[in-house]
Subunit: 462 residues, 4 copies
Amino acid sequence: MCGIFGIQDNDEALHMVFLGLYGLQHRGEESAGIAAFGPNGFCVRKGTGLVEKVLREQKIKELSGHAVIGHVRYSTTGSSNPVNVQPFSVNHKGTFIAVAHNGNLTNTRKLCDYLEESGSIFQTSMDSEVLVHLLVKSPKRKLSNKFKDALSRVQGAYSALFLIDDILVGARDPYGVRPLSLGKIGSSYILSSETCAFDMIGAKFIRDIEPGEIIFIHKDGTIESDYLESEKKAHCVFEQIYFSRPDSRVFGDSIYAQRKNLGKMLAKEFPLEADMVLPVPDSGSYAALGYAEGSGIPFEMGIVRNHYIGRTFISPFQSLRELRVKIKLNPIKDVIKGKKIIVIEDSIVRGTTSKNRIESLRKAGAKEIYMLVSCPPIVWPCFYGIDFPTKDELIASTKSVKKIKDFIGVDFLGYLSLNGMKKALSDNGRFCDACFSGEYPIPVSLKTSKYMMEKQKTKFLE
Amino acid sequence: MCGIFGIQDNDEALHMVFLGLYGLQHRGEESAGIAAFGPNGFCVRKGTGLVEKVLREQKIKELSGHAVIGHVRYSTTGSSNPVNVQPFSVNHKGTFIAVAHNGNLTNTRKLCDYLEESGSIFQTSMDSEVLVHLLVKSPKRKLSNKFKDALSRVQGAYSALFLIDDILVGARDPYGVRPLSLGKIGSSYILSSETCAFDMIGAKFIRDIEPGEIIFIHKDGTIESDYLESEKKAHCVFEQIYFSRPDSRVFGDSIYAQRKNLGKMLAKEFPLEADMVLPVPDSGSYAALGYAEGSGIPFEMGIVRNHYIGRTFISPFQSLRELRVKIKLNPIKDVIKGKKIIVIEDSIVRGTTSKNRIESLRKAGAKEIYMLVSCPPIVWPCFYGIDFPTKDELIASTKSVKKIKDFIGVDFLGYLSLNGMKKALSDNGRFCDACFSGEYPIPVSLKTSKYMMEKQKTKFLE
Amino acid sequence: MCGIFGIQDNDEALHMVFLGLYGLQHRGEESAGIAAFGPNGFCVRKGTGLVEKVLREQKIKELSGHAVIGHVRYSTTGSSNPVNVQPFSVNHKGTFIAVAHNGNLTNTRKLCDYLEESGSIFQTSMDSEVLVHLLVKSPKRKLSNKFKDALSRVQGAYSALFLIDDILVGARDPYGVRPLSLGKIGSSYILSSETCAFDMIGAKFIRDIEPGEIIFIHKDGTIESDYLESEKKAHCVFEQIYFSRPDSRVFGDSIYAQRKNLGKMLAKEFPLEADMVLPVPDSGSYAALGYAEGSGIPFEMGIVRNHYIGRTFISPFQSLRELRVKIKLNPIKDVIKGKKIIVIEDSIVRGTTSKNRIESLRKAGAKEIYMLVSCPPIVWPCFYGIDFPTKDELIASTKSVKKIKDFIGVDFLGYLSLNGMKKALSDNGRFCDACFSGEYPIPVSLKTSKYMMEKQKTKFLE
Amino acid sequence: MCGIFGIQDNDEALHMVFLGLYGLQHRGEESAGIAAFGPNGFCVRKGTGLVEKVLREQKIKELSGHAVIGHVRYSTTGSSNPVNVQPFSVNHKGTFIAVAHNGNLTNTRKLCDYLEESGSIFQTSMDSEVLVHLLVKSPKRKLSNKFKDALSRVQGAYSALFLIDDILVGARDPYGVRPLSLGKIGSSYILSSETCAFDMIGAKFIRDIEPGEIIFIHKDGTIESDYLESEKKAHCVFEQIYFSRPDSRVFGDSIYAQRKNLGKMLAKEFPLEADMVLPVPDSGSYAALGYAEGSGIPFEMGIVRNHYIGRTFISPFQSLRELRVKIKLNPIKDVIKGKKIIVIEDSIVRGTTSKNRIESLRKAGAKEIYMLVSCPPIVWPCFYGIDFPTKDELIASTKSVKKIKDFIGVDFLGYLSLNGMKKALSDNGRFCDACFSGEYPIPVSLKTSKYMMEKQKTKFLE
């Protein structure tokens, strides 16, 4: 997962992107970067770490530019290579080209083979480098045609921002898997992964970029759009369940309301009796609130989150993982002791985190613990950009609900049903739920390899 | 304010204190430090910044010691001098003496004059240095008598930990202003400002140290106590309202329960009608929950806290303060728009933070905003260790409730009454409420100067 | 200028390159980097700053590889962009390709145009990226033919190291402008810009790589060479005069001996009378020693160099430049006062540094100061990799010797004659002396632009 | 060893001290610090590391003060405790007192016992803390009498600077062991360990502070001196041989000239035959020059010093020590091979460094190596501030010259005779040569312990 944010024609464009990326930080903590274009030329600043650290150290304040794009990147195992930090940029025939990309292409391998055959070289393992190669290779003369030409070769999920000198371009794949919204502050247009980032800078939300839309935002304030053919929508349902911020509107819905709805639906599917509903801060809070409202069972904030345990937490002592759970979320004994508790989780991936939490609730004296999950079991990997572990590591892929219950150590475990989820979210066929159902809307090659690094040696050396 | 944590006779004493200080980090973000004693001698490591930064950089992992005390310190204007970082330590006649102190002495000036007259010199402006001087000057031969002798000269609020070589000593002033609790893990005794720190390491709570108690914990596991005369209790009521963590028991009470009680009492005193109760994360959440429970008005978590805005937030751009409010807490428009809202604050000090929050709620479209405060107006400064600003800066000290309401910009402002607060907290005369009532239980010299630095030149140079 | 160092088939290859780069640090203080290949794959680590800082921070110790190349880079105004740090590397069709390059190509612009036309994109402004593109574009099948094909398109000065997976390749341009030597330790071959780096690791010097030679060093210890046609030698004479370390053999000569010879020739051309010969530490010391030996005038080390003023010197106060001269080299009054002094400089570029030094010698009480320079006036820019300033900034390009004398403030100024220099260095037509004579051995396009960044926009955007 | 520098009544006092400490950096690389007094009060900034690092990080530029003292401290094993960084400072009865001290007291233990008995506590193990205690304990009313009173209790070597609010005080022990000189720039007086620091700021040398002199420099430009009784001079001869910078005048002599004289005397005592005299950069250069001048044997700078190997050198690989020698000083094979060489060392302490150097000269092909040392064998420890190792580690204390020769691996080893040294330096009984002769001019208690830390437990705990 990643977050992208861009702005056109603003005197404080760099400041705006800095703030906007803060609002998207939850979409990626591993690296951050910006690319800017202005009268003094272009510049790119990026690095590994949080927005605050990277952009402060990179002294972006000293830069200038009125058209700027920014990116935050999620940590994916094995790919934390500094060269893979976005935006990716080149200077081609005197034109500055920069890309910030959220999503995952599914035919990267094939595209790379094709491009290398004609002499292209790759410095990174990023989809965004592939996008630039395709753009540059296009024989079309008009910029919009170059984009249509390049993107028509691409398969997979992408919401991407481009700077072509001072033209800001946004593109969203024909299925609309990842979100991308258009906002405005004063006369300046903004593109952002989530609408919460508009709030950070006091901008207003205009509309979502449509699936297959390629939008060109010019310095003079004019915008024009071109479209790839789009047959069917396949918005990532996990954005609604877990990934997006509760203060965003994503795919036209209030995330806060959607999550409360999931909780209310859980209350219908699992009308349990208990002393309290206990949210797991912060992600499980909204479904828990919905469940409490739906069930009438008291809502108690009985787990305290320690805000000093951030991503940068590094213990000088061993036993890091165990310790993080222990210190990060502390159950309040006075609240929990001797009580029947309903714990609401947004989702279960590996199951180990839930297991640890339940353990500490037991130690705090809970009498009975029922866990409800506001989505169905995650059984299938995601090829469109959510960094789930491999199938073997997805607990629901290898264990029955009964066995997961035993593993986690709860007295009852209930997952929201697929239909319940669809109903709660007003699905109407617009969501991709492949991780639950295995029905992949976009073709996925079995050989799909995320990183060219791992590619078999083919033809260069005899 | 500060937090203190100490442990005796534990193989992992340093690790324990590291974790314990994490649990007390909310009591002081400015500096951190530890002092340790073991077979390889003693050592002190300290520095400015959060526990994680300081103790990692100081490489405490490489140290050893079975008796260790630690300290975190709150930021107080003008005193962020590196030399004032605790623990304070000396080597006196071959004995290692270290002190970590929470509270504020009220006769420091007088004690310093007395000590300087007899040739003592002061390197810091810390009360803890004064405590060591008094201890060392005592003509008594027995350690417990030295302590009684020294502490009987001291006036004010203190909960303090000492290492005298490998003897761990805890002392609490006769009024019991600041908290100090005894815990145990395995056969090792622990002293901590708050019980939540016991949870961090899996220790169990034994009892509170009593007002006026001086407890000596020896390496062999024996403990003995001596007592200063204690006439009357004066526990800091602000620990209950704001300062302590909700998962601690402080002065015998569950902080979580106390704060919910304050909210319920607010519901009795101010039975308003509204669409929702809105907590201000995280400190106002518990009183808000109590108010919602008491009033039956729905509880909505309509303000999202950005966890990436920490203490270390430094913007490369200007307009820092305004920006922090904006980015740190974002109201959810979809929840708030067109609604009548009750906002619960735990307390109002200067009023500017509340004002900014209300402004952003207005921008998010709130129709009417009622603010309720879970304590009475803060009118008087604290001389016992809470770092309130000067009287002039306390908004309730210079403005009527009506004017505060206008300043903050709410449609209604209600403070919990003093009696209501006492009743909700089961006061029974055990709390110091001087900041609300002006009734100071411990004598305060009008000339009390917190920092010797500011002392008038007296006698050294003619 | 840059320094390059590579080693094949050594268990401590990374350690060796680390040490080797220390020995080449004088060739480039701006950035450092390494690329390594081994059983665990490849890796690249690089950054701005000195070898010690970069490679320590990059934690090269944790890496592995038996074939490693390294690079240090000189600071050239306007190009201190982190993306331009070498080695440059790509993964092409599953083969790792890395390049470290010393020199400057003179037809970069033309090559880029050709490559971009066929769809190549450039992320950096480095010659080394161009070299990789050419290599990859070559239709030849054999690796040696690919190299010959690629390098035959290239004009200019280059000594370059390549890793093609685990094959170490060294190449030197047909004129042999920049040095490159072959060494050996145990059974491992080494390639280095200078022989002094062999000493750092206890390796022995085998021979220089010949102009136009392309040497392939395989993991099994076999080496083979291929050759580009080479008509005439044009070794950079400035390597002899200033750039190389005195403990290196470069182009077959002992640098120490060559510089002493220059000093002796100065003694012949300028038989002055004076109280002492004063070297300017450290670069002018060897010519000064030669002059003293040739003239019989006492050699006095009357200027003390402060070793604490390094490249990283950053004054918290202003007036940086002036201060550096003042603090860095302090004349000893007791030695200089009232004396007639001959100061030996290796070369004069802008003249400002010499001017400052003379000023401080005057202040120290020197009676008369004669300055002798161990090379002719530098009048022409270098297009082959020495980072002279532009023609306008070269003092000898705009001022007569008489005016330079006045500017610097000496009582006499003498430059070694071009013929004297050639004779002293046993030239025999093998050196490039274009900076003195303007006779450029390799064609230079007048439009030569070092950085593609500055290229005119051509064809990408209509 | 340490370096001290202070200035009175200067608008750029902080800048001056910053530059001055650069000039004294060779006297101490472990820590640096400054104390300043001005209209805005006082401040102290200090830390471990070089002047540049410490004072830059401490942001001294933002401070102000017209009277400033500074200190650099030598690394002494076991004492690299951050609390021991100077200047030491206190605020006593409203008066700021700061001390920077060079030297070593010999009755510290006794003074501490006396002071602790009367209730003083010590935070550091520094002599300077003891000096402040004595000053503050003095019952005298006049400042000069307080100083005389305090210093009359002190035994040992000290050159110290004090700030008493805005009065700058300098004091030198009655034997004048350590240097201290008075300088002036404009109307501002300066005190510095060495005169070279005057050059750094363009100040002029006035005179040495006399043994036993206490000089008071007031803000209004007046100076007055008081004197302790001084029977006999005992200047540290090692300042002349090794410690001071060659561009300083110390004890009235040009260090450059003194060292050349030592070399000339060596030429008289050891009229060897050889191909060249080889200085060991940089400390041995001056004696080598003297030997070459005296003997007529050519002087060759055949060992190249790598200026990138500084104090901060940290190898990511092991074998640090060995590597440092190897990389730091590289012999030039072309100069040395097959030659008879005279190597001049200023002194031999442990012998290991010399041994390593000789080894690398052998590897470079030297035929015969004669080592001459420009002082007698160091047999006795120093109690006055030179950080020699213990007697057991001084090679000349346990081995005969013959055995040292074998250990180091030279063909001949000659030490300058004690008389020769005295004559060369124009001793006339003014130097302390205890390290050579064992004749200690100032009484030394056998139990002298440098650090109170190690003191036996005495009386505090029963």
